[in-house]
C-alpha cells in the first residue's frame, strides 16, 4: 500500500469518512433513555399488573407512614446511634452489595422476568412473606434477586438497576431475636451508602453508590411500599 499512493489516499479517505460518521452519530448514544423503553426491557407481566392498583388504594396510608419515618429520622437519629442494631449489620450489607451488585453478568439467582417465582422462593426460605418493591418510579428496574447467608439468618437480596447502570440492593431479613423498631439510619461503608431500618421485626438495608439524599428518597419509596405490602399481607 505504501507503494500505491492512489490506494493509500483511498484508504485514508475511507478512514476519514468512518471517523466523521462515528463523530456524527455517536453522540446520540449519550442521550437520556426514556422511561418507557427502560420499562420495556423488563419481562412483560403475565396478565394485568396488580401492583399500581393496590398501591393507589394504600397510597394515603403509605404517605402518612413515610412522613412519620421522616420526622422520626430527624428527631431520633442522634439517640439511636448504637442501640438495637449490630454494628456489623451495615458492614455486612455493604459487603453483600459490593459482591453481588458488582457482578455485571450474574448479580442474581433469579431474574426479574420470574419475579413471582423469586418472591415465592425467598418468602419460603425466610419464613415470612417478602416483596420486591417497584422502583421504576424512581428510575430503578428490578434486575432480580437471590438468597444470601446472613449472620445467623438467611437474607433476601433484591438488585435494582437504573439507566446509568447504577445498582441498588435491598436486603431483608428477620433477626433471630426480636429487636426494637428504628427509624432510618445511614452508614457509609467503604464508599457504599447504606440506609437501614427495623420494622415489624425485620431489618432492611438499602445500599448503593448514590449520594445520601438520593438514597434516602429511594429509601422512603421502599419503606412506603413495604408498609403498604405489610398492611395487605399481615404476618
Amino acid at each position: 500500500m505504501a507503494r500505491d499512493p492512489a490506494l493509500a489516499a483511498r484508504v485514508a479517505e475511507l478512514r476519514a469518512q468512518n471517523a466523521a460518521l462515528r463523530d456524527a452519530l455517536d453522540p446520540w448514544l449519550g442521550e437520556a433513555l426514556p422511561d418507557r423503553l427502560v420499562a420495556a426491557t423488563a419481562a412483560p407481566a403475565r396478565g394485568a399488573r396488580r401492583f399500581p392498583q393496590w398501591l393507589g388504594l394504600t397510597a394515603a396510608a403509605a404517605a402518612s407512614l413515610v412522613i412519620g419515618v421522616g420526622l422520626g429520622w430527624f428527631g431520633r437519629d442522634a439517640s439511636l446511634q448504637h442501640d438495637g442494631m449490630p454494628t456489623t449489620f451495615t458492614r455486612q450489607a455493604a459487603l453483600v452489595h459490593t459482591l453481588y451488585a458488582g457482578d455485571v453478568n450474574r448479580p442474581v439467582e433469579i431474574w426479574a422476568a420470574e419475579e413471582k417465582r423469586l418472591v415465592t422462593w425467598l418468602s419460603k426460605r425466610l419464613g415470612f412473606p417478602v416483596h420486591a418493591p417497584d422502583l421504576n418510579g424512581v428510575g430503578f428496574a428490578l434486575v432480580g434477586g437471590r438468597l444470601v447467608a446472613g449472620n445467623e439468618m438467611p437474607t433476601a437480596l433484591f438488585v435494582y438497576e437504573n439507566a446509568d447502570k447504577q445498582r441498588l440492593t435491598l436486603q431483608v431479613r428477620k433477626p433471630p431475636t426480636p429487636v426494637e423498631e428504628t427509624a432510618f439510619r445511614y452508614a457509609l461503608e467503604n464508599g457504599v451508602g447504606v440506609y437501614y431500618w427495623i420494622e415489624e421485626d425485620c431489618t432492611y438495608a438499602l445500599s448503593g453508590n448514590l449520594d445520601r439524599t438520593q438514597l434516602l428518597s429511594i429509601g422512603r419509596v421502599v419503606y412506603g411500599q413495604l408498609a403498604a405490602f405489610e398492611a395487605a399481607h399481615p404476618k
Binding site: A12, L25, W28, A43, W111, A141
Partner: protein
C-alpha cells in the same frame, strides 16, 4: 408445591438496558424520526421477549436485537405501504428532526457534521442501515448479512453505494486538516 415446567430463560435485562442506546440509534437511522424510533425500539423489545427462546444465551445480544428490530421495521413498512400508496419512508424531508445533530462534535465542525448527518438521512434506508451497522456499529459483513437476511455481496454493494454518495455529497476533509478544525 407443584413444579411448573421450566419457562423460557429470561433475557438478561442489564444487557438489554445496555443495548438501548444503540437500538435507539439504529431505530433513528431506520425511521428518520426520533419519536417513531422509540416506538420501534419498544415494539422490538416486546418482540424480543416473545421470541426469547430464539436467542442463544451467550451469543451477541445486540446483533440479535438488531435483527428483530430490522424485521419489525420491514413489516411495519410493508403495512404502511399497503395503507398509504406513494408514501416512501425513504423520502427526504421525512422526519427531519431526527437528523439534527446532537450537541457534541469532535474533529469536525458542527456544520460539517450536520451536513453529513443530513446526507446520511437522504440515503435510501437500505443503504443507511448497512452504513450504520458496518461503519458505526462495526459489525462484520457476515453479521450484517445475517441481521438483514441478505447475501454478503448485497451488503458490500449497498455499503459501497452509500459511501460513494456520501463522498460525492460531502467532501470529507483530508486527514492533514483534521486536527486543525475546532
Amino acid at each position: 408445591m407443584t413444579a411448573s415446567p421450566p419457562a423460557d430463560p429470561p433475557l438478561p435485562q442489564p444487557d438489554l438496558i445496555a443495548a438501548l442506546p444503540r437500538l435507539r440509534r439504529y431505530a433513528r437511522v431506520l425511521t428518520g424520526d426520533a419519536a417513531r424510533a422509540d416506538d420501534l425500539v419498544q415494539e422490538a423489545l416486546a418482540r424480543a421477549w416473545e421470541k426469547r427462546r430464539l436467542w442463544a444465551a451467550g451469543s451477541d445480544l445486540r446483533a440479535w436485537l438488531f435483527t428483530i428490530m430490522h424485521n419489525v421495521f420491514v413489516n411495519q413498512r410493508v403495512l404502511a405501504r399497503h395503507e398509504r400508496q406513494h408514501v416512501s419512508l425513504d423520502a427526504e424531508g421525512d422526519g427531519q428532526e431526527a437528523w439534527q445533530l446532537p450537541v457534541r462534535a469532535m474533529q469536525y465542525t458542527r456544520v460539517e457534521l450536520m451536513e453529513l448527518v443530513q446526507h446520511v438521512g437522504r440515503l435510501p434506508v437500505e443503504q443507511r442501515e448497512v452504513l450504520l451497522l458496518a461503519v458505526v456499529e462495526e459489525l462484520r459483513y457476515e453479521e450484517i448479512a445475517a441481521v438483514l437476511n441478505i447475501p454478503v455481496g448485497t451488503v458490500m454493494s449497498r455499503l459501497s453505494r452509500a459511501r460513494e454518495k456520501l463522498r460525492a455529497a460531502f467532501a470529507v476533509p483530508s486527514s492533514s486538516s483534521l486536527k486543525v478544525v475546532k
